[in-house]
């Protein structure tokens, strides 16, 4: 029996000044530990959706239930707290703070969230384990993030998202800057670590070819309410 970590109900979101709603989703669920691929064209609202789920944007109508909590009812700082405690984020690019070392970048969530720090056990050990699993050479750990290749940076970002085992990992096209071979390698590692951390993975991309290996694949267009 699986429970949903994320559940959208009649969600409507409109950017200020936009005529039609950017997102209008009657129902959508992500189950605990599930690895979900969400496909959508450029400009279809994928990043907007992730911002909503991460609690940065608030919907005009509808509810976002994350781990049973209604994000719309939480105040601004409670949503910030929720995000760092339960959500790991990976973006398309520029994930790292350039002047911090690789290790410090990975440790950032444990600095802001006592829960993540607690779940990580010994944060530095946990970070080292994740970096090792994600195939990052120990020699790189103390280097400033600035000196890494894009592929390496994305793996560091994955380690940061995973540290302290948040229930939900949101990935916004993290592989778009990598070549095909690296893309699959990165995805394999990411899925493997999400499984190990028992985190649900919501992976958005415009590239349907990447969907192989995910437990479920959905098109954003199919989630949207049919416009008459």
């Amino acid at each position: 029996m699986s429970e949903s970590v994320l559940s959208l109900e009649n969600l409507v979101f409109r950017w200020p000044g936009q005529g039609t709603a950017c997102l209008d989703i009657p129902a959508f669920q992500v189950q605990a530990g599930e690895q979900l691929f969400l496909q959508g064209e450029s400009g279809s609202g994928k990043s907007t959706l992730l911002n909503l789920v991460a609690g940065v944007l608030t919907p005009a109508q509808g509810r976002i239930l994350a781990l049973g909590r209604d994000l719309g009812r939480l105040g601004g700082s409670a949503r910030d707290r929720f995000r760092v405690d339960h959500v790991g984020l990976i973006f398309q690019q520029f994930n790292l703070i350039p002047y911090l070392s690789v290790l410090d970048n990975v440790l950032l969530p444990t600095r802001f969230s006592p829960r993540r720090r607690h779940r990580a056990g010994d944060p530095v050990r946990a970070a080292a384990a994740l970096l090792g699993h994600l195939d990052l050479d120990e020699a790189l750990w103390s280097r400033p993030a600035l000196q890494l290749s894009v592929g390496q940076q994305q793996r560091v970002a994955a380690a940061r998202a995973l540290i302290g085992q948040p229930e939900i990992i949101l990935a916004d096209e993290p592989t778009s800057a990598l070549d095909a071979a690296r893309q699959t390698a990165f995805l394999d590692l990411l899925r493997q670590e999400c499984a190990a951390a028992r985190s649900a993975l919501l992976f958005v991309s415009h590239d349907l070819r990447l969907s192989a290996g995910f437990s479920r694949s959905v098109a954003l267009a199919d989630l949207q309410r049919d416009t008459p």
Binding site: V84, D85, P98, Y99, L100, R111, F112
Partner: protein
């Protein structure tokens, strides 16, 4: 909040080149502001200390300020003299405890020569009532003996036994010399931090002697009296420039002043040093105010520059802020981060400025002592400077709120995906 400090420091270190320049600007402004204030205070205390024991300064009728400036501070040239009879009148006045006659006008390598008598060493007071003391030797006893202030001896490297030649007038080199009548240094005074330090003291008789064969400020043509023969002449002083007067009771000061100004023998001025100095500071007040406002403005500009640099860096840092948001930084953490950064910079600038101030004070001390006989009260921080430091800190804090507020707004608007 404390976990933000290392982050703020690392972020600032990452932009050290730009920030260093603005730091230097803040440091210079702080040093300027405090330096101006220091100079003002040191001038005031220095000037007040130089006449602390004197109740009245008497001279030929002149403006009180002018009389003070040349007789006490040895700045500017005396314009008129008073008769010796007037000195005797003052010394014999029943309310007068002591009178120190001063005769000015000559110099030695830029240092003023003061002709006086034993009363100078007995009665002159400076600072909080300290009398003069000798670090070497003794007072002058015969015509061609001289006693040096500490600064003169130190600067020129003279010791007891040294022979010196005096110049006519205040000029350092081009003035006509009294080469035929050299003086011997017999004593050196301990440092006082007043114009005494940069004076060369000789006896009133010595002053008469070197001007025996002079008339109207120039050597008399065809007449030259060798040094060994001067004692054959009457060397008793005929006139002096000014007299420093100490009273038996301070309470009598106004009545004595009135009597002196009404003296029948010749028109005299009697000046209360405190009153004249108050007049001087009044005159300077506008200038001081302008200087203060200017240094305040310089500080404001430098702090605005600091805020502007931090503000300008925000655009390149939007990603950094978004990343911090994505790993759990709340908008108020961003606010704190930026405020902290501004505050750290202001504190650093302040520290650097204070260091600069110390160096400036330390470096300017010899010059101030040589030229004005001013000794800085202290090189290190003084109590009255603390409010200024507090003010700079407060203004710096307020000006760093501006970029912090902007970063806060940006981080709210950008969310996790900065738009550039």
């Amino acid at each position: 909040m404390i976990h933000l400090l290392p982050l703020a420091l690392k972020s600032a270190w990452n932009r050290r080149a730009t920030l260093a320049l603005t730091l230097v600007a803040v440091a210079l402004a702080v040093a300027l502001l405090l330096g101006v204030e220091r100079l003002r205070q040191d001038a005031r205390t220095g000037f007040a200390q130089a006449v602390s024991g004197t109740d009245l300064v008497v001279g030929a009728r002149a403006s009180p300020l002018q009389l003070m400036l040349y007789s006490v501070y040895r700045l500017g040239e005396p314009t008129a003299t008073m008769d010796w009879a007037s000195v005797e009148y003052l010394a014999g006045h029943p309310a007068v405890a002591w009178a120190i006659p001063l005769s000015l006008g000559d110099s030695h390598r830029g240092f003023p020569v003061v002709a006086t008598n034993q009363a100078y060493f007995d009665h002159f007071r400076h600072g909080d009532g300290k009398s003069l003391s000798f670090s070497q030797g003794r007072p002058f006893a015969s015509v061609f003996e001289a006693v040096l202030g500490a600064e003169v001896a130190g600067r020129l490297g003279y010791a007891s036994g040294h022979a010196i030649v005096l110049n006519h007038g205040a000029g350092a080199s081009l003035a006509v010399g009294h080469d035929d009548k050299p003086f011997t240094v017999v004593g050196i005074l301990a440092r006082t931090g007043t114009p005494v330090d940069r004076s060369v003291h000789i006896s009133l008789e010595g002053m008469e002697a070197i001007h025996l064969d002079w008339q109207g400020g120039a050597p008399m043509a065809g007449l030259s009296i060798p040094a060994q023969h001067v004692t054959k002449f009457d060397l008793s002083p005929k006139s002096v420039t000014a007299v420093l007067v100490g009273l038996k009771s301070r309470a009598a000061v106004f009545s004595v002043q009135r009597q002196v100004e009404a003296y029948r023998g010749e028109p005299l001025s009697a000046v209360l040093p405190g009153v004249a100095l108050a007049r001087l500071w009044d005159l300077m007040a506008t200038g001081e105010q302008v200087l203060r406002v200017m240094s305040g403005l310089v500080l404001a500009v430098s702090l605005a520059g600091l805020a502007a640099v931090v503000l300008a860096s925000l655009n390149e840092r939007r990603r950094e802020l978004a990343i911090l948001r994505s790993v759990g930084a709340r908008p108020r953490d961003i606010l704190a981060l930026l405020t902290l950064e501004g505050l750290v910079l202001v504190v650093l600038g302040l520290g650097l400025g204070i260091l600069l101030l110390f160096l400036l004070t330390w470096g300017a001390t010899p010059w101030l002592q040589t030229h004005y006989g001013l000794a800085p009260e202290s090189i290190l921080l003084r109590g009255q400077e603390l409010p200024w430091l507090g003010l700079v800190l407060a203004v710096g804090f307020l000006s760093s709120l501006l970029p912090a507020w902007r970063a806060y707004r940006l981080s709210l608007a950008d969310g996790l995906t900065p738009r550039i």
